[in-house]
Amino acid sequence: MPNFIMSYLGSTVTPGEAGNQFWALIYVLIIFAGVSVAVICMNWIERKALAHFQVRLGPMRVGPHGLLQPIADALKLMLKEDIIPSEADQFVFWVAPLIGLLAAFTVYTVIPFGPSQAVSDMNIGILFMLGVSSLGVLGIVVAGWASNSHYPLIGALRSSAQMVSYEVAMGLAVVSAILMTSLNASGTGTLSMIGIVQAQQQQGVWFIFKFFPLGLIAFVIFAIAMVAETNRAPFDMAEAESELTAGYHTEYSGLRWSLFMLAEYAAMIAVSSIAVTLWLGGWMRPFPNLLNAPAWDFIFSLFPGLTFLGLAAIAFVGTARMPADSFFKIQRIGLAVFAALLGFIALLLLAIAVAGRFADASVGARFRDGIDYIYWFVLKVAVFMYLFIWYRATWPRYRFDQLMKIGWKVMLPISLGVLVVTAIVGVIVS
């Protein structure tokens, strides 16, 4: 049995490729749980980070430093009454958040956390991702319409126009990255997500630096479009709080509302993953070709453990700095436990790293590599997540017509130009 499990862990292909449906199911479950946890963490981080941007503390009461706040929120939302307005279209109102959620989570089936750490390596992976993520707009549109109310309708129309418009620029930027994958000996590119990362590995450069500045421009366009695509500030017209009260989900409450939030954050992570995969080398650690000695492998494989160690240290410092009042006793204990948990994870990861270094067994090394891949991938995605928060704290909101103007008159021409120039340069180079 352990052998059986280890064989899964050490596999070099994705479960989809291996045709192993059981394994794939496990992967799907892991991803679903992982993304949900990530969303919860993201929620906490966003609130805290935003608060610190804004010279305040953010949640502090539920758990030490509000660590349990997202859980409390989730509980509250689940227990709230699920109100469906009587004039709303009952069925559509009910099904709308599910559409968004489904679209947001389906995308994860092809996101490669590592060369084999994906549910499936579809050969049309990027196409599939664009298609499915574009389905998310359906949920928003339908939700706004089904509420049978003016503000949600305006929000829905705004968001659908916005997402459809920015999808064009986004798609063209993606195509210019895909073009770069065909710059190999055989001259054939790939649409597979894993293939795209491997192409970057083979060419020895992240696509963001390829044909500088072409890749960078395409990446920037994608980075802007993905903010618009996920309805985040400064493009959060669809749920513009000060204008439309809450946009398309004005009439939603409780669990159903939280599903929208879940879908939104999941979509944020998903598009960030696309950006990371296409331009930032996906799961690859820095300089995989340059610093390829086993020693380097080992050093880089220490990073996950060290990161968790750092987090644990921060938590311990926090524990130490807690006021010595009896009022804070429970919180202090909680934070200490949390720190200990982080420290334990850190030790575990370090152990795995060390074991991977000295165990010659391929399974152990692959397991270590898998953790490495996931770590680097998540780290890159986390940068984007932080950017999302940063945008929200810094910028005012665009107006709808300005947004459309930028989308159609600035981003689209630039992305088209980048595509054409990339193609020309590619032909000249090859």
Partner: protein, 187 residues
């Protein structure tokens, strides 16, 4: 991949449940189609149509046509249906949702459609023997590349369908212009 693992992965899972998926997707498609033409509310119809389209995309995947499936999802489900929903919301359908669903000649239409179905069934029944039992297996992994080759050609040779492709792009352009002009209030 070492042989041990290979056998472990494949053991007991070789037959992919193709018939099951086929029947499920086909059922979804047909049910969706029935809902499309029977719902009173156009938004419900549109949602049902989305289900049908996604099911058909699944069927394409089963037919080793992943690229067509992707196009189906992007263009149909992501593009055209959003357009439909947009239009449904623009035109006020409250009135039409309270009116008769079917026009006066619906019995005639239904009869004609049934006759059509009978014709298809009889044709299939008659020509059943002509169909081969086994289907060819298309190379799934290079599907996109082959389609691209047929569309754009390779190594300086024009593809078989390059000209048709250009015509289709022209058609789309004309359609865009036409749609814009027709919907614009003042030109």
């Amino acid at each position: 991949m070492n042989p041990v693992m290979n056998s472990a992965l494949n053991s007991g899972m070789a037959p992919v449940a193709t018939p099951f998926f086929f029947y499920m997707l086909a059922g979804l498609a047909v049910i969706g189609g029935v809902l499309v033409i029977t719902r009173r509310n156009a938004v419900h119809s549109a949602l049902a149509l989305i289900v049908t389209l996604l099911a058909v995309a699944g069927l394409y995947l089963m037919l080793y046509a992943p690229f067509v499936a992707g196009v189906q999802i992007i263009v149909y489900a992501g593009g055209i249906m959003v357009l439909f929903l947009f239009v449904i919301m623009l035109v006020n359908i409250e009135r039409s949702s309270k009116e008769r669903r079917f026009n006066r000649m619906w019995p005639v239409g239904l009869a004609a459609a049934c006759a059509l179905l009978a014709l298809f069934v009889s044709a299939f029944a008659k020509g059943k023997a002509l169909f081969p039992d086994r289907m060819m297996t298309l190379p799934e992994s290079s599907n996109t590349q082959q389609i691209a080759t047929m569309l754009y050609g390779e190594a300086g040779r024009m593809g078989q369908y390059t000209f048709a492709f250009e015509i289709a792009s022209l058609l789309l352009l004309v359609a865009i212009l036409g749609a814009v002009i027709m919907t614009k209030k003042k030109i």
